[in-house]
Symmetry: C4
Subunit: 206 residues, 4 copies
């Protein structure tokens, strides 16, 4: 299996797992995995597909500017520029963007503060933070309809090889050194969002 085929399989596997959770409502969401570093090329989901299906047109190879490497009728996801920022600025190997009800609700409730911080939760270890009082902050940015502007705002928070950013009333983008780490960041974040919302509701009534 070539490197390209290997990366395709890894991304297809993540797509399958996340699709089973219904994390791509209305054909939303987009995923990317790096294939080469020099020059940078990565596989990204094609635009407008039903992500519960598996076909040979699910992903296409793009370069460091997000342009298709080969002639293709497929269009890269409209938000490819966000993945471009991640692969150009860091050593990340995989980047995932999904819409869930809980990440949207968190992004709206904490949008004015521009961030949400989690602390005192075991699952924070998934971010590679092992101290008892470790905290993890996820920035929340404005959802510009103009993608280059969104990518520019987003870029400000792309600092390490793994990370997470919420886009208000839109969704979360996470990335990691490889597919497993990106998925780990995603699952930890969604767990913390759901936990936070449920605790907030119950603390108010007990």
């Amino acid at each position: 299996m070539s490197l390209l085929e290997q990366r395709w399989e890894e991304l297809a596997d993540i797509k399958r797992v996340l699709a089973k959770r219904e994390w791509f409502p209305g054909t939303s969401g987009n995923l990317a995995i790096k294939v080469n570093s020099d020059p940078i090329s990565f596989l990204v989901t094609a635009s407008g597909k039903d992500k519960t299906k598996e076909t040979s047109e699910d992903f296409l190879l793009v370069d460091s500017t997000g342009q298709p490497v080969h002639d293709s009728q497929l269009k890269p996801s409209a938000e490819t520029l966000l993945h471009v920022e991640i692969f150009n600025k860091t050593n990340a190997g995989c980047s995932l963007h999904v819409h869930t009800v809980d990440n949207n609700v968190i992004s709206e409730l904490y949008g004015d503060q521009g961030k949400i911080t989690f602390k005192g939760q075991e699952i924070i270890k998934a971010y590679g933070l092992w101290e008892e009082d470790a905290e993890f902050t996820i920035p929340i940015i404005y959802n510009h309809a103009h993608i280059p502007t969104l990518a520019e705002d987003f870029s400000e928070f792309v600092k390490g090889d793994a990370g997470a950013v919420l886009i208000r009333n839109h969704g979360i983008t996470v990335w990691g050194r490889d597919a497993l780490e990106a998925k780990k960041f995603l699952e930890a974040s969604e767990f913390l969002f759901s936990y936070h919302l449920k605790l907030m509701a119950l603390k108010a009534v007990r």
Copy 2:
């Protein structure tokens, strides 16, 4: 594969996906896909079947008035007249009707207002609206037990080739130019309903 078989497969696929989400409680729900335009004929779910099963009697072909094209022991879904309105008035190719807890709760909470409007949510792009301040309104109609009366009220809101209408304490009907678009409208609507309800509950307690 004939056109009829192709459409059957498309509708069977949607039925399978929605059944996995438990969106057909108590044998509820009905689905339709257009086969021919002139004269109009479409496949519609047979009445009273358990939609988690797949059989050769799941759908039957009906004409522009909702009557079976061939002699059959099968009865078209009781609500076939709503699909008739859609296929006669627009160029829609597929129409879906499901009952979910969240679409029922939304329909009751906003039923007196006769509609619910969504704005400032990324997922609104699934309706084909790409502006930053785009809004999407879903009308809510009274649930007449008399289906011809229900179909008449419903018809008033069947204006484009894709759309969505809530029936109070009953469910949602969505339609689109093809199966993918109808499903996209359905998923975007259910996402917005769930988001709206969760945000409403949490805004009240924070």
Copy 3:
């Protein structure tokens, strides 16, 4: 396929579908399907099994008093006496008992009133009630640990060939003329419970 094998398959199918929904937590729940009417015999789930598994020991045949028809190491479900009441008093062909979070919460919130009544909901048609203002009442009985006493209380509400009874902080028992009808009653009831709880929570905060 013999009648016994046919009924086994029908019950196995329902078990599989309900197990996927996680409706048998902690090996709870029990299911029964009538095989013969004169004299009465029915298949019932064996006690203490993990219902997410499928084995040749899932069910055993019992008589009109709930005693095994054949020598067996298997023990009929502890609550077989409730199914006995149903098959002896009515023409029901199938009876299902499951624990869900929502049916338990409803049974506790409305337990003192001894019943809950639903009205003005489309899904009520699943109970065979087609009028616009139809209502459906589900009695809620006390959860006696002594099963013969529980069965006696339960029996008071076993009146038709299809029905539903809640046992407080325990679960629901539904029955119907055949497996499809019993399942339809179950799904309609769970839908109404979930709808009712969600609407109650949201009406309080809007």
Copy 4:
């Protein structure tokens, strides 16, 4: 099939079932099953794996101190010491640790009281308690980042061959004489947590 292979299959089966429920977010959770009693050895999940996958490196055999029996590149789960306490102090055969949103919320709401007690619920029978007024208490301990300290605190509540302990903002550990009993305790506990939270929210608004 050897005893080792048999136990491997049992644990793999439980892992598969719990993974489908998304009970291992962010590679969290760990599972153990005893293989021999004298001297004690048990299979435990390897550290850092994606538990939705099935591989020959999912588990490794460790001794009564939690050290690998064979040379291996695999690292036993960081929390193996908790399973060590269980297998050394009791006749338990299986031990399961998972993170869920609901067990985390319960652990935080009742953490200051150091326990939560359930009573008057049918599902309590899953703990082997059959009296009408039986109650079951689950202790809640502080989540020390230092695992030996956590194991020491945990050990205080490891008294019988089956049991359950919550770790605050972390997760639940349950154990039983065999895999079925451990799973039964886990499912009963999660059911009671979800029931308790939902009832608490609804009692406040009705």
